[in-house]
Amino acid sequence: MTGTAMPLNAQGAPMARPGRRRFNLTFLGLVPFAIFSTLFLLIPTSYLIVGSFLDSQGSVTLQNYAGLTDPVPINAYVTSIEISFVTALAGGVFGFLMAYTVISGGLPGPFRSGLMTFSGVASNFAGVPLALAFVFTIGRTGLLTTFLAGIGIYPYENGFSLYSKLGLEIVYFYFQLPLMILIIAPAIDGLKKEWREASENMGASSAQFWRYVALPVLMPSLLGSMILLFGNAFGAQATAYQLTGGFINIVPILIGNQLTGDVLHNVGLGYALAMGMVAILGVTLVAYSFLQRRSERWLR
């Protein structure tokens, strides 16, 4: 039999067109995507895969992967995962709240397009300009720091520093938050207004509406968006490099050190590190698929 089930319409009866014939055509729908990805993504990535098994002389080796178990890479992976997870969660929650505010929270209409367009720009404001912007704001001599000093608050005396993991997370938040806002907006928009009204009509409180209607419906989208945020932070490099100068150990910086630097580099190790990231992303995706399938179960 074919791999796909017999397509049914809403009433549960089989579709008019025969399913068998459809099977032959089914995978064709993905052909443009497949061709494009192969040409422009998978082929360049193959250099990555092949290169991770070569050493600097060009002979095959597993040494690069063995190098992943050294303390410095392990620490880098742990730190990267931690920072990505924290900013994905924070960005996810706060981004959802902000998006909800302008879409359904009773704020004037233009605020919505203003926030959406601003989020578009801010989501990619990263790298050196972003790092410098925060240096100018909450660095030791930053605008906010100086202002706070004027009213007697000295964050740097009390252990805060922009050049720390927390500082990096605060900076990452600047592009995580808008990303979440943009990605979750269609889902919030799809939250039918009628459901809210119907639930109120039936006597549910706001909290009950959220718990039993809104959040379950939104959960797959929320999870999907947070995965995106995780991946986004995971791969971010330029901002971190500028801001930490070798003091915070995250994987993209390690990769950059091997691939592009002023000192002789072990490219194979860099590729192996990148493959490690691919593996972690794969695992995260599996976890997400599982969670998502569970949360979608009752919807159909």
């Binding site: 443009p32 359904s104 989501s123 808008p178 009509n201 968006s225």
Partner: protein, 291 residues
């Protein structure tokens, strides 16, 4: 709708409300306390966004004479030409990306749910492939026959667009998928096909309009990526904006800060245009009744 509770009549009205098309996003009846919370959330977010920009602005004003950082930019033709190039590449990327992603996401949701993990994994790959690996891979592959993209300027620009479409994969796919999730594509497709429309027509006239919000999100993200992207434009030797920004002598810090702000503003305006273009009518098409 008044607030009187209960009654079969009321229930009937509720169901009717669900079945009729409405315009999206007009507020319900948030209570004033909740409203206050939302305002607070919004303002907190805005303050967080504005502060770093303010810091950059204050820094850029330290140039002597005060506005010289900005007048320097305005007098530089390369600023506008590189920004125009990046915007153009961005628009083309958006179009190609939408043309590729919408049918793909649609097909996966409708017909090939088993393929979803693979497709999602591929769309997330651009996050973990270092851009420098990607661009060197592209150059190595396409700098000789049979597909010598780098031989010509147009070819190199085309290669750049292809690279940017790849970079936009995660965002565009996620946005479209989220958008598709909130409509019943199964029912819509069947209804449209039972009325005689083919796949292309269904996609173009039924699915696409309902994805307006999602596509706008994806378009914004893609444009921002393209304007801000440095590595690929740099190594493909394209006259894009980010290499220009980096070219500005790093000994001119005030000008660099000013350029960052001005490009932020101009990109925001460009997005405003896209938003206006995409506004259209906001009616949502609902087909089935209560679930």
């Amino acid at each position: 709708m008044s607030g009187s509770p209960g009654g079969v009549n009321r229930l009937g009205q509720g169901i009717e409300a669900m079945q009729s098309p409405t315009t999206a996003s007009t507020p319900g009846r948030p209570r004033s306390f909740a409203r206050l919370i939302w305002w607070f959330v919004f303002i907190a977010g805005v303050v967080y966004f504005i502060l770093p920009l303010l810091g950059t602005f204050v820094f850029s004003m330290r140039a002597i004479p005060t506005f010289s950082a900005y007048t320097d930019i305005m007098g530089d033709p390369l600023f506008f030409s590189s920004l125009a190039y990046s915007f153009t590449v961005g628009i083309i990327t958006i179009i190609v990306s939408i043309a590729l992603m919408v049918p793909t996401a649609f097909w996966v949701r409708l017909r090939m749910p088993r393929a979803r993990p693979i497709v999602e994994f591929i769309t997330l790959l651009p996050f973990v492939v270092p851009p420098i690996v990607l661009v060197f891979g592209l150059i190595s592959t396409y700098s000789h026959p049979p597909l010598p993209f780098t031989y010509t300027d147009i070819g190199s620009s085309a290669l750049l667009v292809a690279g940017y479409v790849i970079l936009s994969f995660p965002y565009m796919y996620r946005a479209v998928d989220t958008g598709l999730r909130s409509m019943d594509i199964q029912a819509l497709t069947e209804a449209s096909q039972s009325l005689g429309a083919g796949w292309l027509r269904t996609l173009a006239t039924i699915i696409l309009p309902n994805l307006r919000v999602a596509l706008l999100s994806g378009a914004f993200l893609t444009l921002a990526i393209v304007v801000g992207e440095f590595t690929m434009a740099n190594f493909l030797a394209r006259p894009a904006f980010a290499p220009y920004l980096s070219n500005l002598s790093s000994s001119a810090p005030y000008q660099q800060a000013a350029v960052a702000l001005v490009s932020f503003g101009l990109t925001w305006i460009a997005m405003g245009f896209i938003a206006i273009l995409g506004r259209g009518s906001r009616t949502r098409v609902t087909v089935t009744g209560a679930r």
